[in-house]
């Protein structure tokens, strides 16, 4: 079995398949007190600080509340009906879904590829062909992860500056004159990609380090067997390493997906208004401006409920598909 603590697909939501040993014992005071305290104290905090405010917000989504008055007027599902006809909101959903698909995929492929290079892209003679100097690369790559997202946003806002930015400086320096004054964040064709690059850039290193650990956890004999069968590095990566760390990949996918649906901080720093033709407008930005600059908190809460449902469906899908694959894999293994 691979993987970081997660691999939650199998068991996190459903009950454990086999009741753990401890649960079969009698309910003594010792056990009851532990359960009550261990669940009770955290859940109390969770109820008061998280669930209660969310219930409240879900209730607001059925009102025409401006967000600044002491009372709310109940209007039923009117806000949701309004959202269906709101072109801007639908566009924001589209953009968020693009991020949801692209950011995790690119991040995972890139970090997995780099992790493979580090673990068996070297010329050493062992079964695991580790690369010399790999710790240097790991240290460097991990670094963006610890920089506050707002700083990353500020820095890249400057990097992308059309006339004084690093990127166009490099490109025109290489003789690509047409990038003189090219507005990466201001052209509909490039804006969303420019944002995606920044998000991916800040996450790849962390997942690379994670995957290196997971790949090293795969029993060496499996790699050995593949080698004897004559598998090259690419085949080894795709057919041995990737399935071997499926749990880690799934967990990472969920986490990145939830993050991609948010993405607020990066966009607030780089394209606060929605970007060219609203091509970088995401749901969270739309919620934010609806709630605070337009003073339509009820409507914003309805958007929030939609986002919550999307996130919930996404998480369920990834975990559900993961579970399905794992089950089929187990069957095949038995056969």
């Amino acid at each position: 079995m691979s993987a970081l603590p997660g691999a939650p697909g199998r068991t996190a939501v459903r009950g454990a398949a086999r009741p753990p040993a401890a649960s079969r014992r009698r309910w003594t005071f010792d056990r009851v007190s532990l359960v009550v305290v261990f669940l009770g104290v955290p859940l109390a905090l969770y109820l008061v600080f998280v669930l209660y405010p969310f219930t409240q917000a879900a209730w607001y989504s059925l009102t025409s509340w401006s967000g600044f008055t002491a009372t709310q007027e109940f209007i039923g599902l009117e806000n949701y009906r309004r959202l269906l006809g709101d072109g801007l909101f639908l566009q924001a959903i589209g953009n968020s879904l693009s991020l949801l698909v692209v950011v995790p995929a690119v991040t995972l492929v890139l970090s997995f590829a780099l992790a493979c290079l580090l673990t068996f892209g070297g010329s050493s003679t062992g079964a695991v062909r580790g690369l010399s100097g790999s710790s240097f690369y790991r240290v460097v790559s991990f670094f963006p992860y610890v920089v506050p997202a707002i700083v990353v946003g500020i820095i890249f806002g400057r990097v992308y500056d059309p006339s004084a930015g690093l990127l166009n400086g490099v490109l025109t320096g290489l003789g690509l004159g047409r990038f003189q004054d090219f507005a990466w964040l201001g052209e509909p064709a490039t804006a969303l990609w420019a944002v995606i690059v920044v998000i991916v850039w800040s996450f790849v290193g962390f997942y690379m380090v994670l995957f290196v650990a997971s790949i090293r956890a795969i029993p060496a004999e499996i790699f050995e067997a593949a080698r004897i069968d004559g598998a090259g590095r690419f085949r080894t990566a795709v057919f041995i390493a990737a399935p071997g760390i499926a749990g880690s990949l799934r967990t990472a996918y969920v986490y990145l997906g939830i993050f991609a649906l948010d993405a607020f901080v990066f966009l607030a720093a780089m394209n606060p208004d929605g970007g060219p033709g609203n091509s970088t407008l995401v749901i969270t930005q739309q919620i934010f401006s609806t709630a605070f600059t337009q003073g339509r908190f009820g409507l914003a809460c309805a958007m929030g409920v939609v986002l919550a449902v999307l996130t919930f469906v996404f998480t369920g899908l990834v975990l559900g598909i993961g579970q399905l694959l794992a089950r089929r894999g187990a069957k095949e293994a038995r056969a």
Partner: protein, 469 residues
């Protein structure tokens, strides 16, 4: 320090922990979250006199949340000593903020807003949202300032127009703002150029600029909508008050008005001719402004008069920043050449449920005194709405001097509009205008985008409208 911890509310703790999962119960809870004194702030408890027109109680503290932007907050703190002197040592606490809406929202809901708010900046609260919870400031304008003059008589004309909502004066914009085209008089004199009176003049100037490798205009992504302001300013000048009224009331064909279309057409010509410096849609706005004030790659920049203060560390030496009225389309425009867009910025409001509303008004009264207004003009190089606080030399500022000259020349011929702020259009305006100025969107596309925004808002019964006349 902006929030006193209400110890007496701890008794609600049990309630919050126990029965709060039922939405109905919780709604009631949030609604009553802190409003123990319904109906608003303390009435006058001090003695009302000319020196204390609002009856501030002896020693009453004032809690002010002030937007911390281009003007800072020291100009409000400036009157703290005077307030303490007049009112038995009462303190004025100024809390700077750049996130006005987020910070104050719960305080409005909870019924304990500050006594005075400068509701400005990118995260300001939409006026329509809180108008009903604000004090009518008419008594303030009717009161006498510290020099014994009635305040309304000391202001430039038209300065209170934007603050009226539903027939009540709910906000007072403190800083006089002159909108127009800004340029370097030094540069223009050296080349024998003059500020354009019509859009054809502007296009000719653009051609001259290109000959020198310069551009006519530049823009930044967060401030693309400055060009909307310029376009509307020009169109109102060309087509007269009917354009302004149609815009203000979000009328169905407001953007198709011939005067508006004529201006947009001229601007599109400038875009096509390459008179706009490329890259603006991806450039941070102050960086773009520095292309005009520092590198002088562009000749003109449309802006309000905050521009001088905003760019003061980024202006080339001997720039002689100067303002000109917006160009008209033809020489036969509905308004005279000297007419321009003047309004006031930095909207101050006094929430009705503040603990010391009289104190909030009193601080505004002190800020509107000759002394405080002159201090503002001297330190910020901008005029307040109070007349005659800028000396002849304008503290050595050519920008300020040119504004005063424009005001004198225009007399009553100034106008204003504020539909963007009222309805929160600025974000989408930026999106549309970035597209237009970088050539991705033509006049028809821009028009339909702007009109669509109008139509949606007008037909949305959930949005309160402000009638403009």
């Amino acid at each position: 320090m902006s929030e006193s911890t209400p110890l007496q509310r701890r008794r609600f703790l049990g309630l919050a922990l126990a029965g709060t999962l039922l939405p109905a119960a919780t709604a009631a809870c949030a609604a009553s979250g802190g409003g123990e004194e319904p109906g608003g702030g303390s009435g006058p408890t001090g003695e009302v006199s000319d020196q204390n027109p609002f009856g501030v109680a002896e020693g009453a503290a004032v809690d002010a949340v002030i937007f911390d932007g281009g003007y800072g907050t020291d100009y409000v703190s400036f009157v703290a000593a005077q307030y303490a002197d007049l009112h038995g040592g009462g303190t004025l606490t100024v809390s700077p903020s750049t996130q006005i809406a987020q910070e104050l929202q719960p305080r409005f809901v909870g019924g304990n807003p500050p006594d005075l708010v400068d509701n400005s900046g990118a995260n300001a609260i939409g006026l329509a949202t809180i108008a009903a919870q604000l004090e009518d400031l008419t008594p303030l304008t009717e009161a006498k300032n510290t020099d014994g003059e009635v305040i309304a008589d000391t202001l430039y004309p038209g300065m209170l127009d934007d603050g009226t909502y539903d027939g009540r004066l709910v906000q007072l914009n403190y800083v006089l703002t002159v909108y127009g085209l800004w340029y370097s008089k030094t540069l223009f004199d050296a080349n024998g150029w003059t500020a354009p009176a019509t859009w054809d003049d502007a296009l000719a100037l653009g051609a001259a600029a290109r000959e020198q490798g310069k551009y006519l205009f530049c823009w930044g992504k967060e401030a693309a909508s400055y060009y909307l302001t310029l376009a509307v300013d020009s169109a109102v000048k060309e087509g007269g008050d009917e354009v302004r009224v149609a815009m203000g009331n979000l009328e169905a064909d407001a953007w198709s008005h011939p005067a508006v279309q004529a201006v947009l057409g001229k601007m599109a010509e400038a875009v096509q001719a390459g008179y706009f410096r490329p890259g603006g849609a991806g450039t941070q706005f102050t960086a773009a402004q520095a292309q005009w004030s520092q590198a002088q790659e562009a000749l003109l920049y449309p802006s309000g008069s905050w521009i001088e203060n905003e760019m003061k560390s980024q202006t080339a030496p001997d720039f002689q920043m100067t303002c000109a009225p917006p160009p008209s389309v033809t020489a036969g425009a509905a308004m005279p050449a000297a007419a321009f867009h003047a309004s006031a910025g930095e909207p101050f409001v006094v929430p009705s449920r503040g603990a010391n509303t009289a104190g909030g008004m009193e601080v505004l009264r002190l800020m509107l005194s000759k002394e405080a207004a002159t201090n503002f003009a001297r330190t910020k190089l901008s005029s307040t709405i109070v007349r005659d606080t800028v000396p002849q030399d304008a503290f050595g500022s050519t920008a300020l001097a040119s504004q005063i000259a424009m005001l004198d020349a225009a007399g009553e011929d100034t106008y204003t509009f504020n539909f963007n702020d009222v309805y929160g259009f600025t974000s989408q305006n930026n999106v549309l205008w970035n597209g237009f100025l970088s050539g991705q969107l033509d006049v028809a596309g821009l028009t339909s985008g702007l009109q669509q925004q109008f139509d949606q808002t007008r037909e949305d019964s959930g949005i309160t409208k402000v009638e403009v006349s």
